[in-house]
Symmetry: C2
């Protein structure tokens, strides 16, 4: 096995263990054990448990970036692009639930300077959402006044999927993404939006 | 100090430490140390670290329940009630950030039968959101077709606040709650909702 392939395998094992047990509750020995390696030989590939955490988080960031690029690679209007972006983001989470758990819950345990790089990547990713919404506002598709907050709330709704999605459940990732996009675009109110007086008559 | 007051104090110390460091990374000795107690004397009050985790999570559940009861204790229409509910939920999170972190990230580390009770409480709390939205649909205020999903997505957006809210930041909890409620009720599209053809002319 090449060094790159071995590193990939180690990151995958760490991703699963950190995601299922929590970063702090997982030892390097357990990661090595999952690969039938000795703890010592693992250190030939990774310098520390924290470096392994950073690798897991970076891999998630890669997945989000790639999926978002594919989602935005179209000339659709901003509403359609938002649907694509939601599907992409939700897809990354649902296809990699343990990784998403690490990404969202444990990334703060990475120390600087690695943490600084991760923050920068997160900011850049969120900026793509802000740009998408800003374009939608500019073209009259979206009516929100605070683009930063709107982007944050869109991501909030998508991110939380890692907490409740079950791969063996009734809902597919596509259905979840459609429902989220629908709520984000149109809100809870009915399309005709009757006034309170009319609707309670 | 009474036994009840001491138990309250211990739960508060655990809440802060679990929330800031993570449940797994915190020892009973640290909780005792935060109160100038010996580890041994802490065990006169709590049977295990896991029992302490359950106490922390139960306290958060109490807060969410009380705040929701106060929010719904009015005769406003469902849209206004949703605003109150969002403000209540966001208020509990922003006023107790370490507790919210434990509530959302570590509650699964509680074992049965305590976990069963906690699940039951979470379900009951989410049911109140489903009931609120169902009433709104019934009265024509809301137009969503999947009430369960709508309730889940409302809570998702609110819950994620624990990840990014900064007590010393520019945004107050009230502003955050208003923005969330606005997005949930009206979505991103402008009130007039121009068709794509019209808006891109």
């Amino acid at each position: 096995m090449t060094t790159t392939a071995r590193a990939h395998e180690i990151t995958t094992a760490a991703e699963q263990l950190f995601g299922r047990q929590g970063y702090h509750a997982t030892t390097i020995r357990q990661v090595a054990g999952a690969l039938d390696l000795q703890g010592g030989s693992l250190y030939a590939h990774v310098s520390s448990k924290e470096a392994l955490l950073a690798a897991v988080v970076e891999r998630s960031a890669d997945r989000f970036d790639s999926a978002m690029s594919a989602a935005l690679d179209c000339n659709d209007d901003p509403s359609a692009q938002l649907r694509h972006a939601v599907a992409a983001h939700v897809g990354v989470i649902t296809e990699n639930l343990p990784a998403a758990t690490v990404y969202f819950q444990d990334w703060r345990h990475v120390s600087t300077p690695r943490l600084r790089r991760l923050r920068h990547r997160r900011d850049a990713y969120e900026q793509r959402w802000r740009d998408l919404i800003q374009t939608g506002v500019g073209e009259g598709h979206f009516g929100c006044t605070d683009v930063d907050m709107a982007a944050r709330l869109c991501l909030s709704t998508c991110n939380w999927v890692y907490q409740w999605f079950r791969p063996d459940g009734e809902l597919t990732a596509d259905t979840v993404a459609e429902q989220i996009a629908g709520l984000l675009l149109d809100g809870l109110r009915p399309a005709s939006r009757p006034s309170i007086e009319e609707s309670t008559k």
